[in-house]
Amino acid sequence: MATLEVEGLAKSFGGVQAVRGVSFAVAPGEMLALIGPNGAGKSTCFNMLNGQLRPDAGRVWLRGQDITGLAPRRVWRLGVGRTFQITATFGSMTVLENVQMALLSHQRRLGGLWTPVRAMDCAPAEALLARLGMAEQAERPCGILAYGDLKRVELAIALANDPALLLMDEPTAGMAPQERVALMALTAGIARERGIAVLFTEHDMDVVFAHADRILVLDRGALIAQGAPAAVRADPRVREVYLGAGH
């Protein structure tokens, strides 16, 4: 069964049709890239998948379960991790605590009024951070972290609930080229190892063609092509609307 299945997703803002009838599926362990020029509807599409936006039409299934229109926190409980285009972490907590929050929430222990968080088992959070190469930064406050490191923290948070699906909105935006490659290689490794389906948007074509198993191309809200990187690269429509006439 596909991890994520999307059928006929549509959304309008006022008179503008941001997303029109988008359908696709992501398989376990698959890295699927969603690309398209600015304003193509990538972020809108993303925000409908994890419940931040309610679609006007269409259905979203996670492992066969209809999750259309559920609130983001419910979608997360069903196994969808997410990173944001502009990182969102808890600035008044350390890196370790950020990850612990996600773990505690996953274990439904956030109602606790007595035992201090500092006294709780942090081995799982530390293990996650070590996997992402952030072990040494564990005790630093998130508010003062470099941007590239914040992206890693977000990824650690997103992985904390053992997700079936990882949604990454521009995971490498604002990073140096070398960091980008490293982060995406790491993500791909973890995804394959755990069988996580990854859907990501990305502007950097090097990253996309290096790491995506399959690519979806969105233009003015509609899917104009999908397939293996080589096929998408060769597709004349993609070259025309997206890569531009010069390529």
Partner: protein, 615 residues
């Protein structure tokens, strides 16, 4: 029928006066984002200055109208003074700090007015040419009221012309929508802010000056009008001129007809309407949802860590002193210490929602007062012993906390704070007007501790034990997962939702928990004083709590404790030492805001960290 028409007309006259004050407040907020508590003081100053001018200048048209205008302009200049000397330095400070600074101005102005004009109510002359009345439907209606009715729309028209037909007005409207952008376009913001403050203070001064022929000038005008003006501005939508006009009309007529139809609940009515409007339209009648918070989203709040050993030792020493020394103190000192312990808990409870919760409350005294009334009513009507009263109070308050909180925590920023204020005022009005049950203004007397706790010393220890336990529990909770979840939703709504945290439920429970804790403090306070009064949940009491938290520092856990100690101690001493304690306290608050923007505990921590960093 005739009566109704006249009532409607007098409602219009009130609406007009209210609009003058509220328009200034809303314009100032729109541009500077400052919730100006001192706006009521400008109004009062306008009235006092007008009295001085009008009674000094030769009688006649020129003397009266010239005096009124001069008073308005002079008030405007005073507004400029306040802006340049104080507010200009703290535009980047958190919203609540600005509020605190303007409250300092309120205190200072109160005592300066007392020094200048004395405590007596002053009566001004009636307006020349408008002394008579006009027959309307066979009944006489004062000409001056008719004149006031005309003033409102005329001022609204002039303001609209000013904002839509001049370059300055365009800039003001632009700044109301996006301050950063106006700054980026190279507009001199200092000048813009100062001029807006001048206009706003002028309008308030004019509003006050025009009251001269209507009512006596007194020292209570400032707080009386500021609550009304806040209501109007919030109901209309912060920053919206047309909204303020509409809301002034609504509130003015509500007053006029409320007295006729529901004389028993006139005080509640206004706040009920405000609560209703905010529940249905969270940004007021004509207000727009504010953009993303200015600089608030990614400001790095410090990480909360367990207290450093030095601070722990200090705490132990203070606690040991609090336990060991009181047997050597007299009754007065014991009363003061008991009060301090109560206020530490009161401040700590507010801190939970303001600090980790990131929500502002202007009405936290509601829960303190409800706790006090809960205990007192149990004693009076159920003849309950003290233990039952002290237990009943927080439970009752918890119910109210859940009820009011359910509405309040949905809103954010100033609107949420205003809704808490509305609920507090509703609670206050009920205590004030439901005389049969609450005794009204006379309060409930004879709420004394049981025999075993009747000595001041024993009651002090009881208070200390309960307040200490509750305060430590609050600290514990901040370090526990729930406290972390609370901070998580404050730090990033997006991320906390994305990891399964229900922000509404978290905020709601925290609000109720803070209410319960304030209820414990209030219950103890009732038995400490032996009586309860509506003032227990009045605005000044809420402001006390705010000051204690901000004084100590919102970002530190020790802040509210230190703030409560400093503020209660300072106030107690000042009241004993000088009649002009408001002046000294106001100046201290202003100095604190200017020089210790992180609060006392925050400043201490910065100094400590800086020293440690050097070593």
């Amino acid at each position: 029928m005739e009566n109704l028409v006249l009532q409607a007309l007098s409602g219009l006259a009130s609406a007009s006066s209210l609009f003058l004050v509220a328009s200034g407040l809303t314009v100032i907020f729109g541009v500077t984002r400052i919730v100006n508590f001192a706006h009521g003081s400008f109004y009062m100053l306008g009235a006092y200055l007008a009295w001085t001018f009008v009674t000094t200048l030769p009688r006649g048209h020129l003397g009266f109208w010239g005096g009124v205008l001069a008073a308005a302009l002079l008030t405007g200049m005073i507004g400029v003074l306040v802006e340049v000397l104080i507010l200009r330095r703290i535009y980047r400070a958190p919203e609540l700090f600005q509020l605190l600074a303007t409250f300092g101005v309120v205190l200072v102005v109160q005592d300066l007015a007392l020094l200048t004009w004395g405590a007596q109510d002053l009566l001004g002359p009636r307006a020349p040419g408008l002394r008579g009345g006009t027959e309307i439907l066979g009944l006489r209606f004062p000409d001056y009221e008719l004149f006031l009715i005309a003033v409102g729309p005329v001022v609204l028209g002039l303001l609209l012309l000013l904002f839509h037909r001049t370059r300055w007005g365009t800039l003001v409207r632009a700044a109301t929508q996006d301050r950063e952008m106006v700054g980026a376009l190279g507009v001199n913001q200092r000048w813009l802010f100062t001029s807006v403050f001048f206009l706003g203070a002028c309008l308030a001064g004019l509003g006050g000056a025009l009251q001269l022929p209507r009512e006596s000038v007194n020292l209570h005008m400032d707080l009386a009008i500021i609550t009304e003006a806040f209501v109007v501005v919030v109901v209309g939508g912060l920053g919206s001129l047309a909204g303020a006009a509409l809301a002034a009309l609504l509130i003015g007529e509500l007053h006029a007809f409320g007295i006729l139809v529901l004389p028993k609940i006139t005080l509640v009515l206004v706040f009920l309407v405000m609560a209703l409007v905010l529940v249905v339209r969270p940004h007021g009648l004509l207000g727009r949802a504010p953009g993303p918070p200015v600089g608030g989203a990614n400001t790095a709040e410090p990480v909360i860590r367990p207290a450093p050993p030095a601070l722990r030792w200090l705490g132990f020493v203070a606690l040991a002193a609090a336990v060991a020394l009181p047997p050597f103190f007299g009754d007065y000192a014991l009363s003061v210490l008991t009060e301090i312990a109560i206020f530490v808990l009161f401040a700590a409870s507010l801190h939970l929602i303001m600090g980790p919760g990131g929500m502002a409350s202007f009405g936290h005294a509601a829960y303190f007062g409800l706790g006090a009334y809960g205990a007192a009513l149990a004693a009076k009507w159920l003849a309950a012993p003290m233990e039952v009263g002290l237990l009943l109070a927080p439970f009752a308050v918890g119910v109210f906390g859940l009820l009011f909180g359910w509405f309040c925590v949905r809103l954010s920023g100033v609107y949420a704070a205003m809704l808490t204020l509305a609920f507090a005022q509703i609670a206050w009005s009920i205590a004030f007007q439901w005389v049969e049950v609450t005794g009204g203004d006379n309060g409930i007397l004879g709420v004394w501790p049981d025999a075993w706790a009747s000595s001041k010393l024993v009651f002090y220890y009881l208070t200390l034990a309960l307040c200490l336990a509750a305060t430590l529990l609050l600290r514990r909770i901040v370090h526990a997962p729930f406290g972390y979840a609370l901070r998580a939703q404050r730090d990033s709504a997006l991320r906390s939702e994305a990891i399964g945290i229900d922000a509404f439920r978290t905020r709601w429970l925290a609000f109720a928990l803070a209410a319960v804790m304030a209820g414990i403090a209030g219950g103890l306070f009732a038995y400490a004083k032996g009586s309860v009064f509506p003032t227990f949940m009045g605005i000044p009491r809420s402001v006390d709590a705010l000051i204690m938290v901000l004084l100590g520092g919102v970002q530190t856990l020790s802040g509210p404790i230190i703030g409560a100690l400093a503020y209660t101690g300072l106030q107690e001493q000042l009241v004993r030492l000088t009649d002009y304690w408001r002046l000294v306290l106001g100046l201290s608050i202003i100095a604190l805001v200017l020089f210790f923007p992180q609060g006392l505990a925050g400043a201490a921590r910065s100094a400590w960290e800086a020293r440690r960093g050097d070593a």
